[in-house]
C-alpha cells in the first residue's frame, strides 16, 4: 500500500488536528496514555495525552515504564490493555425483564449508548486481533449486536511499530510490524534529528476524508523510504519466535507431552493471559434479580478457560487440572482455532508473556514441546 500517490506527511505540530477532526465528527478518541506505571488505553483528546517521551522494557512477567531519549509519541509497544475492552466490554448488560400484571413479562434489549470510537495507535498485531475477533463476533450466522455495532462504526487509526518489545513475535505470526490494510488510516512516526513527522496512508474512504481534514503534504520517495526503514528496524529487533508452519500438527501430536506437567506446577490459573489477550473472547452470562423479584437483568462478563466454572457441567468441571486448562488454552490459540475459524488465534503481541505474573512464555513452551519430540526421536533412533 505504501508509496501510493495518497501517501502523505503530517507534521508533528499538526497532529492535534487529527484529534480535533475525529472529535468534530462525533467519535470518542481512545488511545495510549500513561497511567499507573504503564501505557494503557483511555480517552485521549489532545496530543499531550499521548505517552510522549515514554517507552517501556518488557519481558516475561515484567513491564517497566521508562523515559525515552527523544520525544516520540508512539515509541512504545503494547501494554496491558487491548482494544477488546471497547468492542467486547468486560461487563455488558444484554437485556432486562420486568414482571407485569398477571405474571406477564416485558423484556427490553439493552441499548448501546456509547458514541462511536476512534481507535488511535492500533498496532498491526492488534489490527489482526480485531480481525480475529470479527470472525468470532461478526459471523453472519450469529453476530453479536454490541460488538458488531461498535466495530462497524469504529474508526481504526494504525500506528506502525518503529521498535519491538522483547515479548513481541508478530513476525512469526505474519501480523506485523507493518499494517497492510484493514485500517482507515495508518501512520508511521519518524524522528530524524529535529524533524518529527508522520507518514500517513489512508486505507478507506473514511481515512481519505479524515486526512483531508488534517494539514498534510504529499510524501516524497525519501519519506516512503523512511517509513519502510522504521518498520524494518522493528522487525529486526524481534527476538521471540514460534515456528508456526506445523504448530497445529505438533500440538495435536503432543496431548500427553510432559511439558504440560511442568505447567501444572507453574501456571497459577489466574486467567491473566486470557484477559490480556486481544483475541480471547470467552464470556459468561449471569442473571441478577432485585429483591422484589420483579426485575431481572442478564449480564455478560469476561470469563476464562482457566476458571473452574468455565467448563463446569453437571457433575463438575471438565478440566479440573491446571495442565488440562493450560493445554486447552494453548492448543486452542495456536491449533484448534485454525480448524474453527480458519486463522490462528494468536497475533504475536506478547501480552500473555508480559502479563503472566510468573512469566510463562508460550513461545518457549512450544519450543520445548518441539525439542522434546526431537529428543525422543534421537533416543528412539
Amino acid at each position: 500500500m505504501i508509496g501510493t500517490d495518497q501517501t502523505s506527511v503530517i507534521e508533528r505540530e499538526d497532529l492535534q488536528s487529527l484529534f480535533d477532526v475525529v472529535i468534530a465528527r462525533g467519535y470518542v478518541p481512545v488511545g495510549p496514555t500513561v497511567r499507573d506505571g504503564a501505557i494503557v488505553f483511555d480517552e485521549v483528546c489532545r496530543v499531550e495525552d499521548l505517552p510522549g517521551g515514554w517507552t517501556e522494557d518488557q519481558d516475561a512477567g515484567s513491564y517497566r515504564l521508562k523515559r525515552r531519549h527523544d520525544t516520540a509519541l508512539f515509541g512504545y509497544n503494547n501494554g496491558p490493555h487491548s482494544w477488546k475492552k471497547y468492542l467486547f466490554p468486560p461487563r455488558a448488560k444484554l437485556w432486562e425483564a420486568v414482571k407485569t400484571e398477571n405474571n406477564g413479562l416485558t423484556v427490553r434489549e439493552a441499548e448501546d449508548t456509547k458514541r462511536p470510537f476512534a481507535f488511535i495507535g492500533v498496532r498491526s498485531c492488534d489490527l489482526h486481533a480485531l480481525q480475529v475477533q470479527d470472525a468470532v463476533f461478526m459471523n453472519p450466522k450469529h453476530p453479536d449486536p454490541l460488538y458488531a455495532g461498535r466495530r462497524g462504526k469504529a474508526l481504526v487509526i494504525v500506528v506502525n511499530c518503529g521498535q519491538a518489545a522483547k515479548t513481541c513475535f508478530c513476525t512469526s505470526m505474519n501480523t506485523g510490524p507493518r499494517a497492510e490494510g484493514g485500517y482507515d488510516l495508518a501512520l508511521t512516526e519518524i524522528l530524524d534529528g529535529d524533524d518529527h513527522y508522520f507518514i500517513a496512508e489512508p486505507g478507506s474512504p473514511d481515512g481519505y476524508s479524515l486526512l483531508a481534514g488534517i494539514p498534510h503534504r504529499e510524501a516524497d520517495s525519501a519519506d516512503v523510504l523512511a517509513a519502510q526503514e522504521c518498520t524494518k528496524r522493528a522487525a529486526e529487533q524481534i527476538g521471540r519466535k514460534i515456528e508456526i508452519s506445523d504448530v497445529k500438527d505438533l500440538l495435536y501430536r503432543n496431548y500427553d507431552n510432559e511439558r504440560w506437567d511442568a505447567l501444572e506446577r507453574r501456571c497459577l490459573t489466574c486467567a491473566n493471559c486470557t484477559m490480556a489477550c486481544p483475541t480471547c473472547f470467552c464470556s459468561k452470562v449471569e442473571d441478577v434479580t432485585d429483591l422484589t423479584g420483579g426485575h431481572a437483568e442478564r449480564w455478560r462478563e469476561w470469563d476464562s478457560c482457566f476458571t473452574m466454572d468455565f467448563s463446569y457441567i453437571h457433575g463438575g468441571s471438565v478440566r479440573p487440572t491446571t495442565r488440562s486448562r493450560y493445554r486447552q488454552w494453548l492448543i486452542h490459540k495456536l491449533a484448534t482455532w485454525l480448524d474453527q475459524f480458519g486463522m490462528s488465534g494468536c497475533v504475536g503481541c506478547g501480552r500473555c508473556i508480559t502479563w503472566c505474573p510468573v512469566g510463562i512464555d508460550l513461545t518457549e513452551e512450544v519450543r520445548l514441546i518441539r525439542a522434546s519430540e526431537k529428543d525422543k526421536e534421537a533416543d528412539d533412533g
Partner: protein, 260 residues
C-alpha cells in the same frame, strides 16, 4: 402476600465488621426489610423473634467450648445457614493462635486466666456443622451479601465467582502491579469478591478473601522469592486473615521465621 422469610444474624468470635456490612447496605436495607423479617439481629434491633429461621447469617469462628455447642443450636434452628467472612469461613485472624500455645498468651494477658474457657484453635463454622454457602472476605463485600440474600429469596444460585482477584483487576483495567512495579501481590491465589481494591491503589493484594478455587501458592511464592521477598515475609503473607484456610496454611507452614 406470602409469609416473609425470617432472617437471623449470629455472631461468634469476630469483630462485627461483616454483620455491619448488612447495616452498611443503607439504601438497600429498607428493601431487604420489606422482603425479609429481621427476626434476630441484636446489632440492629433488640426485638428478637424465636426460631426457626429461614436464613441464618453466621459471622465469626469457633474459639470456645460454649460457641462449639451454640453453633449446633443455630444450625438446628436454621433452614439455610450461610457463613459470612474470613472468621466464619477460615477461622479468621484469630486462627493465628493455631500456630502457638494459647495458654501462654492467657497467662500473659489475663490476671486470672483460670476463669477463661477457650479452645486451643480457632476453626471455621464448616468444621462443626453443615454450611449451605460460604461468603468470603475480611470484611465481606456488601454487594455480594445482597446478592446472596437476593439469590436466597429468589431460589437461585448466588453469582459469586471463585476465580482469582486477577480477573477483577483486569476487568477494571488495573495494570498488574506485580508486573509493572514488582510489588508482591497475593491476587493470583486469592478468591475474587472485593473488586480488586488494593492493586488499584498500588498495594499488593493481602489475600483477605482466602484461597481462590485452584490456588497454586507454591508457584506464586517461588516467583515472589525471586522478587526479593524473604521467607519470613512470605509466611506473613499467607498467615493473615485466612491463615487456617488449607492452601494458605500449607504454604505458610513451608516458610520459617528463622530465615529472616
Amino acid at each position: 402476600m406470602a409469609k416473609k422469610p425470617k432472617l437471623a444474624v449470629w455472631k461468634f468470635a469476630s469483630c462485627d465488621g461483616c454483620q455491619l456490612s448488612l447495616l452498611d447496605c443503607e439504601d438497600e436495607l429498607l428493601a431487604v426489610a420489606d422482603h425479609i423479617t429481621i427476626a434476630n439481629f441484636p446489632e440492629a434491633s433488640r426485638a428478637v423473634l424465636d426460631g426457626p429461621y429461614d436464613l441464618s447469617l453466621v459471622e465469626g469462628s469457633i474459639t470456645t467450648p460454649h460457641d462449639r455447642d451454640r453453633i449446633q443450636q443455630v444450625r438446628s434452628q436454621s433452614k439455610c445457614l450461610v457463613t459470612i467472612g474470613a472468621c466464619a469461613t477460615a477461622g479468621g485472624i484469630q486462627a493465628l493462635r493455631n500456630f502457638t500455645d494459647v495458654r501462654e498468651y492467657m497467662d500473659i494477658v489475663y490476671a486470672s486466666p483460670e476463669y477463661i474457657s477457650v479452645l486451643q484453635t480457632s476453626t471455621p463454622i464448616a468444621d462443626h456443622v453443615p454450611v449451605d454457602f460460604e461468603l468470603r472476605g475480611c470484611p465481606i463485600n456488601k454487594n455480594q451479601l445482597l446478592e446472596v440474600i437476593n439469590a436466597f429469596l429468589n431460589g437461585r444460585r448466588p453469582n459469586v465467582s471463585t476465580n482469582s482477584v486477577c480477573v477483577e483487576c483486569k476487568k477494571r483495567g488495573t495494570a498488574c502491579i506485580m508486573v509493572t512495579h514488582g510489588t508482591p501481590c497475593m491476587g493470583p491465589v486469592t478468591h475474587a469478591g472485593c473488586g480488586a481494591i488494593c492493586p488499584a491503589y498500588n498495594r499488593g493484594c493481602y489475600g483477605c478473601y482466602g484461597a481462590m478455587e485452584t490456588p497454586n501458592t507454591s508457584s506464586l511464592a517461588g516467583w515472589m522469592r525471586d522478587l526479593g521477598v524473604s521467607d519470613y515475609e512470605l509466611q506473613r503473607m499467607f498467615r493473615t486473615y485466612n491463615a487456617e484456610e488449607p492452601a494458605f496454611r500449607q504454604e505458610g507452614d513451608r516458610y520459617g521465621p528463622e530465615d529472616t
